[in-house]
Subunit: 341 residues, 2 copies
């Protein structure tokens, strides 16, 4: 392990692949503060995530995938606001990781940073104490026209409810990673790989979020499961929703690997999807479908907003009950979520 924090920063973090120049970033790593100047008329959007080994990722997790994933899940919050990524800061608590770990971790960060033009501009590096856990804190900064930011509280009765991509893949991927899904041949192996990838490399919906400015009335990214996150939209908007279970977008891999009577609850409550859930007036549907198709983002309408609060489910137009709950960090949860993030 390198023995000098400034040396670690210089070699692994303050390097061209990760701490690159970008319009709007006036000053990056190396001073008391970073300086960021959003474009005129833009607000700065910011979101922070704190992740700990043993809670959000397994000891021995691939550092490249860890770096990639931690930045991607943060960018997902910018996407849900309709904000364009500008830069990020990183707080890192290390437990005597070897240089090779830092190298791979920063490469994973750099891959995502480059793809989103979102350089590292500062942060803090500490050595965790004896028995301490590796800790990663990331804050992303983005910019969005003040009036166009998509908040959670704007859903109206009659709005349609949409989700991007497919649901439940990451939760199923976590089962695969824990060895809970039996591999039965080549096709099953491919499915398992697809699901594990969904956990480690969530799709980034940043481009979709920007397209939805002015079109969506409310949006959130699905981190704790559809039930929990759509629930936040409903609560903030003072509305309810009915969701048509037959319209939930499920991947072939998910259908093949999860027993059919557990599919619905895992898809709506599994978490870690990092897809967008948003609401929009029916009149905007065609425009939204066209613009998301243009950037290759799969989209599904799964229900509608109603005046009466509460989340209701139907299957082929008949009301059904679905026992499902999102992840809560301070409440004992189903074993599915023991390693949730």
């Amino acid at each position: 392990m390198a023995t000098d924090e400034f040396d670690i920063i210089r070699r692994h973090f303050n390097r061209a692949e990760l701490a690159f120049d970008r319009a709007g970033v006036t000053l990056g790593i190396g001073d008391d503060c970073a300086l960021v100047t959003p474009q005129s008329g833009m607000a700065l959007a910011m979101s922070m995530d704190l992740l700990q080994e043993g809670v959000h990722f397994l000891p021995g997790a691939d550092p490249y995938l860890l770096g990639q994933r931690t930045l991607l899940v943060n960018l997902s919050d910018l996407a849900a606001m309709g904000a364009e990524p500008l830069c990020f800061t990183l707080g890192l608590g290390l437990c005597a990781q070897p240089d090779a770990w830092l190298e791979r971790f920063s490469e994973g960060l750099a891959a995502v940073a480059a793809a989103h033009n979102c350089p590292l501009v500062g942060g803090d590096l500490i050595a965790s104490g004896p028995g301490g856990a590796t800790t990663v804190c990331i804050q992303v900064q983005g910019q969005v026209p003040v009036e166009a930011a998509i908040r959670r509280g704007g859903a109206n009765a009659g709005d349609l409810v949409f989700v991007t991509g497919t649901l439940g893949d990451a939760a199923a991927g976590l089962r695969v990673l824990k060895g809970e899904c039996r591999e039965t041949g080549d096709e099953s192996r491919q499915h398992h790989q697809f699901l594990a990838d969904a956990f480690f490399v969530p799709q980034s919906r940043v481009a979709a979020g920007i397209v939805l400015r002015g079109q969506a009335t409310a949006a959130i990214d699905i981190s704790d499961g559809l039930v929990s996150d759509l629930g936040h939209i409903l609560q903030a908007s003072g509305r309810g929703a009915v969701i048509e279970l037959e319209n939930l977008p499920l991947s072939p891999a998910f259908r093949a690997c999860i027993e059919s009577d557990g599919q619905m609850s895992l898809a709506v409550a599994g978490g870690d999807d990092y897809e967008l859930c948003f609401t929009a007036p029916a009149d905007n549907r065609d425009a939204i479908e066209a613009s998301l198709a243009a950037i290759d983002v799969p989209l599904r309408c799964i229900g509608r907003i109603e005046q009466v609060p509460g989340l209701r489910w139907t299957l082929q137009n008949k009301p059904v009950l679905l026992k499902a709950e999102g992840y809560n960090h301070f409440r004992p949860n189903r074993s599915d979520n023991a390693e949730n993030s």
Copy 2:
């Protein structure tokens, strides 16, 4: 301990004393992102600190003092840039703290937040894993006119070197807290209290930083000790300095409690001062002294910048050698610094 993260946030963090309204803060706690809009012509300045129990604070530390101190040391980075505090975000990893702990911690934060008009606008709350340590990550956001931000790299040969306040008190306070200083009576008890306070409640030099815009050529806050932090200014500026040891500002409590042959090295390398060290042309000296006196900030000129790189010391105009090193998180240090931050 409360069992619901949203409940903890609502009761202890998203409350009027801490998450109050402020001009420039467009959206606070409760959405995917917070939204901040700096004034026209202003850059957003940001700085992050990651702190862990057992590394930066002792297990059993008073949660009120901890809350106060963690926010103050972050604001110190804004001060060193000449930035005005706008808001902060908080990542908190908890280890089954009781409600009373959270209450006092958030009260400590609120006291500093109110004093600096710097509300909490978001963050992340997690339950640390088994054996995990309490973790606090704070990022402060401030605003500063882009051209007036005081960087580290602007010191010129001939500039004077200044520090605010007194040096070494916090490092001496840490010795007091560890029981390494013998109490010998009422006066000694008062000195010890003064030094412990210097550690727990560092002076905030935010107002001084704002006054220094356009006057100082370079600035830094002293977190790792004068040697280390002035060293950053010298390195960034490509210059050297000569410091007159007889001019180091030492408090009466410091002089009384630290044996005289250890005073200089503790004052220049002890760390945790969170005073400002800055450079300015001699022509600005009168104006700077007057404006800092007007806001009751003690100021001392301790030396000057020279063309030749390196940090040199004099005592009564004679060169002296001083063995002193700043704190480094990844290098075994003197025992003075075992609990440094």
